[in-house]
C-alpha cells in the first residue's frame, strides 16, 4: 500500500471504503472521509443519507460490513465505544445517552474510564465548566435539566477524556438560536486548542458558520467534499437533495373564516414526575389558516398535543372548544367525531402500531367511521382505505399492505398524515410534521397541510423547525416551559424575537401571564 506522503503528516482519522448493509438496504456505500487535526469538518446530508450510520461505525457502536478506518495513518478496528474512547474519540449523540434519575456528576462518572471518585469528578467538572463556559450543577438530577444543559453534560463527558476528535450529531436540533451560538463559541475554542471536530448536520447556515470543509452524503454515498463558504446555500442544498426541491406553494386564494379551535386559559398539571405543566394557554385557530407553534423540545409540546387531542382531558370542558362545542373533558374519539384530526410526533408506536399492517392502522383514527360496523371490522373497506391513502399521498411501500415498521420514516409519515387528511377534517393538529423525514416527503407533507388550510380547514402545526414554520404558517406563537406567547402573524416575527421567546426572556411576557 502506498504510504501517505502529504507534508503536514497523515490526517487524524481517515475512513476508506466504509460500507454498511442492513438486509437489502445499503446505509453506507464505500464512504471515504479524512479529518485533519484541529479541523471542524462537517458531515452534511438529508435524513436517511447515512450520516448517523457512519458516525456509529466510527464510534464503534455498529460494525461496518466493509472498509477500513485509519487513525493517524495506522489501520485500527474500533469494536466498541470503549475502544473508541481509548483511541481519543468523543461523541455527543443526537439522542442523549443520559440517565434521568442519576445526578450530573454520576452521569459523567459512569462514562469515564480509569480510576475516579465522585469528588474528583466534581472538581474536574468545575475546571472544564470554567474553561469552556459550560455551566452545570454537579448534584442536580438530570431530569430537572433543560435540553441545552443535558447537551453540556454530554460535551463535558467527552472533554474529560481529552479527546482528539469530538463528534457532534445534529447538536443544535434541541437548542435555541442563542444556545446554539454559545455552543459554536465553545467549539471554536476547542478547535483552536487542536481538537478535531466532526460536525453532523443538515442545517446549511450553521455549517457555513463553523466549517471550512464539508463532506456531503446522499443515499449512503459521498457526493462531494466542498468548502461550504465558497458555495451558495442553494448549490449545497442541490448537492444534498439531488434534484432540486421546489418550494411549498402558499399562493392559493386565502380566506380566513370562523373559529374552529379556541383554547382559553388551559392549565394542566405535569403528568408524572418528569412532565411539563401547561399554564394558562390561549390559542385560536380559524378555518383557512395555518397556526404554527414554535419551541425547543420538551417545553410542553407533547403535553399541549395530549390536551388538545383529548388523550389527556382537562378538568373543565370550556378550556378547549372545537367547532363551537366545549370538549375539554371528553376523549379523543368524541373530538374526532366533531371533525378534528390529530397527528402525534412519534410515528411508530403512537400514530401507528409498528407490527400492524397499514390497513389495520387505518382503524386507529377511523374506528367510528366507514371501516367498522356494529363492532365488526370491515376488512375489505379498511384495505381499500389504506390503498387510497397510499395512492393519494405517494406512500412508497415494499408490498401491498405492509406492516407499518417496514416503511421508511418519510413514507410512514405521509401515510399517517394522509390517513387524517383523507377524512377532510375541519381541524387538524400536527406535532412535528416532518421530524426526521427526507426532503421530498417533507415538501409533500407541508404542501398537503397548506392545501388543506386553503380548502377551508384550520391547521395547527407544532414544530421545532423554524424554517418549516416560516414556510407554512400564517400566524405563529412560541411555547416555553408550558406557556404560550401571544399569537402573531408570521410577518411580525423575527428569528431573534422567536429565540428570545424560546428562552423565556421576551419583553412583557411576565406581565401578560401574571396572576
Amino acid at each position: 500500500m502506498k504510504p501517505d506522503v502529504s507534508s503536514s503528516g497523515p490526517p487524524l482519522v481517515e475512513l476508506q471504503g466504509i460500507s454498511k448493509r442492513y438486509g437489502d438496504l445499503l446505509a453506507n456505500d464505500g464512504i471515504d472521509l479524512a479529518i485533519e487535526p484541529g479541523e471542524i469538518h462537517a458531515l452534511l446530508g438529508e435524513n436517511g443519507a447515512g450520516k448517523s450510520t457512519l458516525v456509529k461505525i466510527l464510534y464503534g457502536v455498529i460494525e461496518p460490513s466493509a472498509g477500513e478506518i485509519r487513525w493517524e495513518g495506522r489501520p485500527v478496528s474500533i469494536g466498541s465505544p470503549v475502544e473508541a474512547r481509548n483511541l481519543g474519540l468523543g461523541m455527543v449523540f443526537q439522542h442523549f445517552s443520559l440517565f434521568d434519575e442519576l445526578t450530573v456528576a454520576e452521569n459523567i462518572a459512569v462514562a469515564l474510564s480509569g480510576e475516579w471518585s465522585l469528588s474528583t469528578v466534581r472538581s474536574k467538572l468545575g475546571d472544564i465548566s470554567r474553561t469552556y463556559g459550560l455551566a452545570l450543577d454537579a448534584d442536580r438530577a438530570v431530569w430537572t435539566l433543560s435540553a441545552g444543559e443535558r447537551q453540556r453534560i454530554e460535551i463535558v463527558r467527552c472533554l474529560l477524556q481529552n479527546p482528539r476528535l469530538l463528534i457532534l450529531d445534529e447538536p443544535t436540533s434541541v437548542l435555541t438560536p442563542q444556545e446554539a451560538e454559545h455552543l459554536f463559541a465553545t467549539l471554536d475554542r476547542l478547535s483552536a486548542d487542536g481538537c478535531s471536530i466532526l460536525y453532523i448536520s443538515h442545517k446549511l447556515e450553521e455549517v457555513r458558520r463553523l466549517c471550512r470543509r464539508a463532506t456531503i452524503l446522499r443515499g449512503g454515498r459521498v457526493v462531494a467534499t466542498i468548502d461550504p463558504r465558497a458555495k451558495s446555500a442553494r448549490e449545497i442544498a442541490a448537492l444534498m437533495v439531488g434534484n432540486e426541491v421546489g418550494e411549498v406553494r402558499t399562493d392559493a386564494p386565502h380566506r380566513v373564516q370562523g373559529e374552529v379551535l379556541r383554547v382559553s386559559r388551559l392549565s394542566i398539571p405535569p403528568a408524572g414526575l418528569h412532565g411539563q405543566a401547561l399554564r394558562d394557554i390561549d390559542l385560536v385557530a380559524r378555518a383557512g389558516e395555518v397556526v404554527g407553534i414554535a419551541g425547543v423540545a420538551g417545553n410542553g409540546q407533547s403535553e399541549l398535543f395530549a390536551a388538545l387531542s383529548g388523550e389527556r382531558p382537562a378538568e373543565r370542558a370550556d378550556v378547549v372548544v372545537i367547532a363551537g362545542k366545549p370538549v375539554g373533558t371528553v376523549g379523543i374519539d368524541a373530538r374526532r367525531r366533531l371533525g378534528a384530526a390529530f397527528v402525534p410526533e412519534e410515528r411508530l408506536g403512537h400514530a401507528a402500531a409498528p407490527t400492524h399492517r397499514l390497513s389495520e392502522n387505518t382503524l386507529i383514527s377511523h374506528a367510528s367511521a366507514e371501516v367498522s360496523r356494529s363492532g365488526f371490522i370491515l376488512v375489505n373497506a379498511a384495505r381499500r382505505l389504506a390503498r387510497s391513502i397510499i395512492q393519494g399521498f405517494d406512500v412508497r411501500t415494499p408490498e401491498g399492505d405492509p406492516q407499518a415498521r417496514k416503511l421508511s420514516g418519510g413514507n410512514l409519515q405521509k401515510f399517517v398524515i394522509g390517513r387524517e387528511i383523507i377524512r377532510r377534517p375541519k381541524l387538524i393538529i400536527v406535532d412535528q410534521p416532518t421530524w426526521g423525514v427526507d426532503a421530498g416527503a417533507a415538501r409533500l407533507i407541508r404542501q398537503a397541510l397548506v392545501d388543506l388550510a386553503r380548502a377551508g380547514s384550520a391547521v395547527v402545526v407544532v414544530s421545532q423547525d423554524l424554517d418549516e414554520l416560516f414556510e407554512v404558517a400564517d400566524r405563529m406563537a412560541v411555547i416555553h416551559q408550558g406557556q404560550l406567547s401571544p399569537l402573531k402573524p408570521v410577518s411580525e416575527w423575527t428569528r431573534e424575537a422567536i429565540g428570545l421567546e424560546m428562552l423565556g426572556v421576551a419583553q412583557g411576557q411576565g406581565g401578560v401571564h401574571a396572576l
Binding site: 437489502d24 478496528s77 388523550e311 400514530a351 402500531a353 382503524l363 363492532g375 365488526f376 371490522i377
Partner: protein, 358 residues
C-alpha cells in the same frame, strides 16, 4: 462469548407454526435427560407419557376431560396476554368460580329444585371468577398496583377460602369428618355428553369459547383493541381506547372463563367440593396459552397436548414410580422453551466467541 440478536426482516408463517413444535421437542429432550439422570429409561417414560395414553380409548376421553379446564382458562388468559396484562391468578379465579357455583348446589341439596339449578350454578361460577379477577384489575386501574403480584396473592387467599369452607360450614356432616362437601344432586351435576362417557358438557363450553374467541379476536373492533393495547399502548390511547376499560374487560373475561372451568370441573367431574379441586390448571394454562401462541385454535391443540402430560404423569407415577412433580417441572421447562422459541422467531441469534480486541 456473547450473543448477538438481529431482528428478522420477515418471519415466515411456517416458522411461526413450527416454533411451538420445536419448543415441545426440546422440552421433551430435556425431560428425557432428567429422567435418565434419575436412573430411569427415557424410552419407557416416553411410552408411558405419550404413546400409551394415545392408544387407549379411556385415556383419550380422559385427555378431553383434562383439556377442558386448560382450554377454558387459557382462552381467557389469551385476552389478558394479548393486551399485555399479566393475570397469573387464574387458579384463584377458578377456585372462587367453583365455590360460588357450588354454593347454589349445596343450598338446593336435597330439595326438589328443578332444572334451573345447573344453569344458574354455571352463571354463578362465571360471575364468581369474573368478580375475583376484577379485584387485581380494579387495584391496577384505580390505584396503579401491579397486577402480577396481586393476582398471584389472591390465589393463596382463594385456596384458603375453599379450605375453610370444606373443613367448616360446608363440610358434609355424614362424611366421617373428611374435609369435603356433600355429593351434588343430579340436578346440580353437569352431565356427560355421551351416555356412559366421561366427557361432560364443559368440553362443549370450551369449544364454544374457542370459536367465539376466534371471531372476536380476528374480526371485531374489541379484538383489535386488545391487540393494539398489547402491541402499541400509546397508539391504543390515540385510537381512543381507554386502557382502564380494556384492563377491566379482559380480567373479567379471563376470570369468568376460569370460574366457568372451576364450576364445570366440580359439578361435572369431581361432584363435590374438597380442599383441592385443581392440579394447578390455572398455572398450567399459562403454558397452554403461550404454547398455543395466544391463538384460539392453537390453544385448543396446546390444551390437548399439555393434558397428555397430566395423564402421562399419573400413569408414570403408578407404572414407573416417577413423582407427579416431574409433570410440573416439565410444564415449566416447556414454557421456557416456548418463550425462547418465540424470541427465535423474531430474532436471528448468533453466538459470538470473543475475538479481536477486548
Amino acid at each position: 462469548m456473547r450473543f448477538e440478536l438481529t431482528p428478522r426482516a420477515s418471519v415466515s408463517p411456517v416458522m411461526r407454526a413450527l416454533a411451538p413444535v420445536a419448543a415441545f421437542v426440546t422440552a421433551f429432550l430435556i425431560a428425557g435427560f432428567v429422567i435418565w439422570l434419575m436412573g430411569r429409561s427415557p424410552v419407557a417414560a416416553f411410552d408411558v407419557y405419550v404413546l400409551q395414553p394415545l392408544s387407549d380409548p379411556w385415556s383419550l376421553q380422559e385427555l378431553a376431560v383434562k383439556a377442558t379446564p386448560l382450554a377454558l382458562i387459557a382462552i381467557g388468559l389469551s385476552y389478558c396476554f394479548r393486551a399485555n396484562l399479566w393475570n397469573i391468578g387464574a387458579e384463584g379465579q377458578y377456585v372462587i368460580g367453583a365455590v360460588l357455583g357450588s354454593w347454589l348446589a349445596l343450598r338446593t341439596h336435597g330439595t326438589e329444585a328443578g332444572a334451573w339449578v345447573l344453569p344458574l350454578m354455571l352463571i354463578l361460577g362465571v360471575v364468581g371468577g369474573a368478580l375475583y379477577g376484577l379485584i387485581p384489575a380494579f387495584l391496577k386501574t384505580r390505584f396503579g398496583v401491579n397486577e402480577i403480584l396481586t393476582s398471584l396473592m389472591l390465589v393463596y387467599v382463594a385456596q384458603l377460602i375453599l379450605d375453610y369452607l370444606v373443613r367448616g360450614p360446608w363440610r358434609d356432616p355424614k362424611g366421617f369428618n373428611f374435609p369435603q362437601s356433600v355429593t351434588f344432586d343430579p340436578s346440580a351435576t353437569l352431565h356427560p355428553v355421551l351416555e356412559g362417557g366421561r366427557v361432560h358438557y364443559g368440553a362443549l363450553f370450551a369449544l364454544v369459547a374457542v370459536l367465539l374467541t376466534a371471531v372476536i379476536l380476528g374480526r371485531t373492533l374489541f379484538g383489535y383493541r386488545l391487540k393494539l393495547t398489547g402491541d402499541a399502548p400509546r397508539a391504543a390511547r390515540f385510537a381512543g381506547f381507554s386502557a382502564k376499560a380494556t384492563t377491566m374487560a379482559v380480567f373479567a373475561i379471563s376470570g369468568g372463563l376460569a370460574g366457568l372451568a372451576g364450576i364445570s370441573e366440580v359439578s361435572g367431574q369431581i361432584g363435590q367440593l374438597q380442599p383441592s379441586i385443581s392440579p394447578g390448571y390455572g398455572f398450567t394454562a399459562i403454558t397452554v396459552a403461550f404454547l398455543g401462541r395466544l391463538n384460539p385454535i392453537g390453544i385448543l391443540i396446546a390444551a390437548l397436548v399439555v393434558a397428555l402430560t397430566f395423564i402421562g404423569g399419573e400413569s408414570a407415577q403408578i407404572l414407573l414410580k416417577l413423582p407427579l412433580d416431574l409433570t410440573q417441572a416439565f410444564q415449566g421447562i416447556l414454557l421456557l422453551c416456548v418463550l425462547a422459541a418465540d424470541a427465535l422467531v423474531s430474532y436471528r441469534i448468533r453466538f459470538v466467541t470473543r475475538g479481536g480486541g477486548k
